[in-house]
């Protein structure tokens, strides 16, 4: 077994964009995880900001329950603008 815990790495590629998951790595603590993430995932200036999160601290939805879990949004087509009929000639709506 690896003695260092696993960290998930998120990189913001430039200002104005959100952090995106890029991969993971092992490191003994958060400081080292950040430094390692810089060396492994931003060797070509791919980021202006990095987040590292202990993989064990992430709670994820289960793929097995994805239907029940996401079902409630399935029958609410009225949440989309295309659900509504706009009379001909009406503009800026």
């Amino acid at each position: 077994m690896s003695i260092e815990p696993l960290w998930e790495v998120f990189v913001r590629s430039r200002r104005g964009l959100s952090h995106t998951h890029v991969g993971s790595l092992h490191a003994p603590d958060a400081t080292m995880a950040l430094r390692n993430a810089r060396d492994v995932y931003t060797r070509r200036q791919e980021g202006v900001s990095i987040w590292v999160v202990r993989a064990a601290d992430i709670t994820a939805s289960s793929p097995d329950e994805k239907d029940e879990f996401f079902d409630p949004a399935g029958d609410k087509v009225y949440r989309h603008p295309t659900f509504y009929q706009v009379p001909e000639g009406v503009q800026h709506l």
């Binding site: 991969g23 603590d29 060396d39």
Partner: protein, 309 residues
């Protein structure tokens, strides 16, 4: 609603991507672990033949480039170990399997780098072949592997160009330098063709991997693509591909070429290549010599955690 294996098959049939926590057949998981681990091992063992020339690179420019390339190989190894870990294995265990010889790495790295031209030949031919292999893997059915491959392929293209540039410079130099480039091509051509694995007729894992969308093209298709791509480049360099059977077939638009001697491939895979022992011994030594760093970092993290509590 589709669950478990039905959902897996439906995703594969629709050319979708399988993600880490999805249900998957045990064979799919095992095949991927074997392949990704072997790929990761190849990246880090591949640092050795090139690392051999860092201290003797002919200029500071070449040295900086070669160091960046070797660093990239370490990075590629890490991307791939991380992808393998999403399948429920641990990186430390995979390294143990490499060190004990239970998992393999690409046999190409068991050949020695005898001259500076070999560094050019590795970039041009070995990374060229790796790119041909890896580009279709960007569409592999397993999400984390495909995403790692996208990163690797982006970085890999400078590797191939710097190799070609080294050879191009040598080929436009003195007679002796050009002869050195020719000698490198003579030695690396056949092992590079072997990088695509055994011929389709003898490939053991291919059919199932194709059905699962792990592999997109057969070994022979990829080998042909590599030859078609590389032979004209050798023409630009003005050096000769060491194959008397090489000819261009107007009708198909492909080069006909002589197959490599696959008994050599099997022999090197078995451990009998020129550098197998040296590569593995060096890897194990580097791992053992680095143990104190890992232990010290862990001890420091533990101490800080206690103080923070």
């Amino acid at each position: 609603m589709l669950t478990g294996m039905d959902s897996f098959q439906a995703t594969i049939d629709a050319d979708g991507r399988i993600e880490p926590r999805d249900a998957m057949p045990e064979g799919y998981r095992k095949t991927l672990i074997r392949q990704i681990a072997q790929h990761a091992h190849s990246e880090i063992i591949g640092m050795q033949p090139e690392g051999n020339w860092i201290s003797r690179a002919p200029s500071l420019r070449r040295k900086a480039i070669l160091m960046a390339k070797v660093q990239d190989e370490a990075g590629h190894g890490l991307y791939l170990y991380a992808a393998a870990e999403t399948l429920g294995v641990d990186r430390a265990d995979l390294l143990d399997l490499l060190h004990s010889g239970k998992q393999k790495y690409s046999s190409i790295f068991n050949y020695p780098t005898l001259t500076w031209a070999d560094i050019g030949a590795i970039g041009w031919l070995v990374d060229g072949a790796a790119i041909v292999n890896q580009v279709p893997l960007c569409r592999c059915s397993y999400g984390p592997y495909a995403r790692a491959m996208v990163r690797v392929c982006k970085e890999e293209s400078f590797h191939q160009r710097q190799g070609f540039e080294i050879l191009h410079t040598l080929c436009n130099g003195t007679e002796g330098q050009k002869a050195m480039a020719q000698d490198a091509l003579d030695r690396w051509w056949w092992p590079s063709l072997m990088m695509f694995g055994p011929p389709d007729s003898a490939s053991t894992h291919s059919e199932q991997s194709m059905a699962w969308g792990i592999k997109r093209h057969s070994n022979d298709e990829l080998r042909q693509r590599f030859v078609d791509m590389t032979v004209p480049q050798a023409g630009v360099l003005g050096i000769r591909v060491p194959d008397d059977g090489l000819s261009y077939d107007e009708e198909s638009g492909h080069y006909r070429f002589t197959e490599p001697d696959y008994t050599e491939l099997y022999d090197v895979v078995k451990g009998n290549g020129p550098c197998n022992e040296q590569r593995l011994a060096h890897r194990v030594k580097a791992h053992e010599d680095g143990a104190w760093v890992r232990e010290a970092a862990a001890a420091y993290a533990a101490k800080k955690a206690v103080r923070a509590a």
